[in-house]
């Protein structure tokens, strides 16, 4: 195992997913020599999405072909500070990616813009309900950036991703039947909305009858053939149902591999090194400047890669882990309530409701498109009066059918109370698969003083580093929110004519359970903001303490929202890159005085 020092570059980027690919594209456009380091292997549609071999549910969703290999590294999890955290040994509750494209290769494609009120949630809540409305122990914060500032970058990301959707308001004018709660847009979606699958079609009608405002979920799944501004081509989605967990064989689902990397790979300023596991960021003796990174290559050699600028663009918790093991920023201590790295770790609060329709109605759950579907936002963000409810946060409610395949149907089984095996299970499972519609309340999760990330004292990864430790549990505020929103779905399933409905709700006192898939939408832990006492990075996603390190990802979210994170991560990447290009590169240093 040799130690080799490589030639210095302008920029080193850790992670080959959406955030890293966007930063690489922007910074090579600015003439920078960029090296991107990805811990996993090379991936492309031609190999990982080959038809028909890749349409293998066992390999894709149950042997986790394009997901993180936990054998090398994982996290530990506990519900509270008095417990011993234990390793997350088997993928279940959340499914991070690995390999070129990162989680951007296996994602589904829901592509939303953050709601304006969610970006200023603390200020909004205080102005509407008073400071005393915020529960004790909740670290409610603003992002330090507004929707108006981010709008051009949301727009840019949609054009790069080839996003399908229907706008409501463009440049102040109502133009269509989009989300009536959505903010103004500078331009329409690049592609029209996808067709509704049966469940979404029935949900749209029933939600309107129930008095809500249904809209087509903006989806980075192309409804038509499309060529993006980088010259990348997408084919029209054919609703094949192999979306989440697969490298879309139709080139319809946006991914770094399809939408950005083809342009980058042609650029001599760009170099992608896969199977390169970054161990830590190296700092100079002042600890206020990064000198580059150290990584292990495929052969196990330790490579010192000097760079002028370091971009951390790994998965949310891997960014936080790298900051902690590199000594960037002050680690959070929940007891003294000091420090920022690891603070405001958040998740998303999801529950699924099922409606069984008349047996003459086939819901064809195997037909699906990852980002498509129908939602209503009447109980999301600040779209309703929280005053009488006494909680902060909200949920969109939607039918977002990415394609339910046979093994998943078997494991989901029949209605509650049905045995898990035997003939009764068979009947219940078949009836549910053929005739049911599933709806999610896809809700926010607030940040709390005693929910955080730090380094585990016991378990280590394959490279000898301490594992990241999650201290996480559901809180009453978020459970009350979930129960309130889910109760509103009853009107919808009634209007649908359901013969049976199971309203899936969070239960008080039930701890976070790592054994069951919930969502991979983890957030926070190195959040953005305007106060270095409560944020690890400034509003340009630049480290307060080490100004030549930028940290891009959902780690920047001060609290969890009801929306999927990728649209916001992409917009933040373009926003940060814009300020690096226009300000930082001309005069490297802090973009905001600490």
């Amino acid at each position: 195992m040799a130690t080799i020092t490589r030639k210095s570059v302008d920029v080193v980027i850790v992670g080959g997913g959406w955030a890293g690919s966007i930063m690489a594209k922007e910074l090579t456009e600015a003439g920078q020599h960029v090296v991107m380091l990805e811990r996993g292997g090379e991936r492309s549609t031609a190999s990982d999405g080959a038809y028909p071999g890749s349409l293998d549910e066992l390999e894709g969703n149950f042997r986790f072909k394009i997901f993180q290999k936990l054998s090398k590294t994982t996290v530990t999890v506990r519900n509270n500070i008095n417990q011993t955290a234990l390793p997350y040994r088997q993928l279940a509750a959340f499914l991070p990616g690995e390999g070129v494209g990162g989680a951007g290769l296996h994602w589904s494609g829901v592509h939303l813009r953050m709601a304006p009120d969610d970006l200023t949630l603390r200020s909004t809540v205080i102005s509407k309900y008073g400071k005393s409305f915020i529960p004790e122990g909740m670290n409610l914060q603003d992002y330090g950036v507004t929707y108006a500032e981010l709008e051009p970058y949301f727009d840019k990301a949609e054009k790069v991703f080839g996003t399908s959707g229907e706008a409501y308001k463009v440049q102040g004018k109502i133009v269509g039947n989009g989300n009536a709660f959505a903010p103004d847009r500078s331009d329409d979606f690049p592609l029209p909305p996808l067709k509704d699958v049966t469940g979404a079609h029935l949900f749209r009608k029933a939600a309107a009858e129930a008095g809500y405002h249904p809209y087509s979920i903006p989806a980075a799944n192309a409804s038509r053939q499309y060529t993006n501004p980088y010259g990348a081509q997408m084919g029209p989605c054919n609703f094949c149902g192999y979306c989440s967990g697969y490298a879309c064989y139709m080139y319809s689902k946006a991914s770094p591999n399809v939408n950005i990397l083809p342009a980058l790979r042609k650029n001599p300023l760009f170099e992608l090194r896969s199977n390169a596991t970054v161990l830590h960021v190296t700092l100079d003796s002042t600890k206020s400047r990064a000198t580059g990174v150290i990584y292990l290559d495929e052969k196990g050699d330790e490579i010192i890669q000097p760079a002028e600028l370091v971009i951390l663009a790994a998965f949310q918790f891997n960014n936080v882990h790298l900051m902690l093991v590199s000594g960037i920023g002050k680690p959070y201590d929940p007891v003294s309530n000091t420090g920022v790295v690891g603070r405001n770790f958040v998740y998303q609060n999801i529950s699924t409701t099922t409606a069984w329709l008349d047996p003459s109605v086939y819901t064809s759950q195997f037909i699906g498109t990852g980002g498509g579907g129908v939602a209503f936002d009447d109980f999301n963000s600040e779209n309703f009066d929280h005053g009488p409810q006494g909680f902060i946060g909200g949920s969109p409610v939607w039918v977002n059918q990415a394609g339910v395949k046979a093994i998943a149907a078997a494991k989901a089984g029949g209605p509650p109370g049905t045995p898990r095996w035997g003939s009764a299970w068979k009947s219940g499972m078949i009836d549910t698969y053929k005739h049911a519609v599933r709806m999610d309340a896809h809700g926010s999760n607030m940040a709390y003083r005693d929910v955080f990330l730090d380094l585990d004292p016991t378990w280590k990864d394959a490279f000898g580093r301490p594992l990241l430790r999650m201290t996480f549990d559901w809180k009453d505020n978020d459970i009350r929110m979930n129960r309130y929103v889910v109760s509103k779905i009853a009107n919808v399933t009634k209007a649908m004519g359901a013969r049976r409905t199971h309203l899936g709700m969070k239960e008080f006192g039930q701890p976070f359970d790592t054994r069951f898939y919930q969502t991979t939408h983890l957030g926070g832990g190195a959040v953005m903001g305007n106060d270095p006492q409560t944020s690890a990075i400034n509003r340009y996603l630049q480290c307060w303490d080490v100004s030549n390190v930028f940290v891009i990802g959902s780690n920047a979210f001060p609290q969890g929202t009801g929306y999927n994170p990728t649209g916001m991560v992409a917009a933040l990447a373009y926003w940060s890159a814009h300020h690096i290009r226009t300000t930082y590169l001309k005069n490297p240093g802090p973009l905001v005085p600490a």
Partner: protein, 229 residues
């Protein structure tokens, strides 16, 4: 799906109802007892384990009016073939020590790979059958096998430090995988699992059917290798 924790009382009930059935020895030795093993020769499971696997899968997904059962679908072959994959060697899991017991909601914490779980689990389940029914599990009639499987599923029985319910969970999960995965992995023979559920398999093109609202999809299933029904 989360099973409710089983009370001591219910566990004992399950055990005693299982015991009660041992009196009916004619049932336990009826010619319809265990289904015949398929022509496939297992490479991981011993002959006794192989008989157990058939007899257990046969009850988890029985052949009935809804369609074929796990044995007809080749699930034992699927599971045996899976035992040669990285998954069965624990390569998909974080296996580093120390292995410390904790609350169930923090997930699996034992040092055992799927191969270990089958070896220990089948030995434990066969022993349970011999203790409570004085017979090999595979020689028990269907109802008695169901009662033993229920004990494994819902009881707080331990096979040394391996909970019987952990073994049961793997057996059930792999059985479902075998019945409904692409036949390239050895199960879902004749695409019988897909025919039963109406899943079209690798057909993967519904451009012309997405807005045929509520109608039953008219085409049969197709596998990765091109097999159709």
């Amino acid at each position: 799906m989360l099973s409710p924790p089983l009370s001591r009382r219910r566990f004992i009930q399950a055990l005693s109802s299982a015991t009660a059935l041992t009196a009916c020895t004619w049932l336990a030795r009826s010619p319809k007892a265990a289904p015949q093993a398929s022509a496939y020769t297992p490479t991981f499971f011993t002959p006794e384990e192989w008989r157990f696997l058939h007899a257990a899968c046969d009850r988890l997904i029985p052949e009935d009016a809804n369609g074929p059962g796990a044995v007809e679908l080749g699930v034992p072959e699927f599971i045996d073939r899976q035992m040669a994959t990285p998954y069965a060697h624990g390569a998909l899991w974080y296996m580093q020590a120390p292995h410390v017991a904790g609350p169930a909601n923090l997930g699996y914490q034992l040092p055992y790979t799927p191969r270990d779980i089958y070896r220990r689990g089948i030995a434990g389940a066969r022993k349970l059958a011999r203790q409570t029914h004085n017979a090999e599990f595979a020689d028990l009639d269907a109802d008695t096998r169901d009662s033993v499987l229920t004990v494994l599923e819902t009881g707080d029985l331990q096979f040394d430090d391996l909970p019987a319910s952990t073994f049961f969970g793997h057996l059930l999960g792999n059985t479902q995988e075998g019945a409904f995965s692409d036949p390239i992995h050895g199960g879902n023979k004749g695409l019988g699992g897909w025919a039963m559920t109406g899943f079209p398999g690798a057909r993967a093109d519904f451009m012309d059917w997405v807005d045929q609202y509520g109608r039953q999809y008219p085409l049969g299933s197709v596998s990765i290798s091109g097999e159709t029904i």
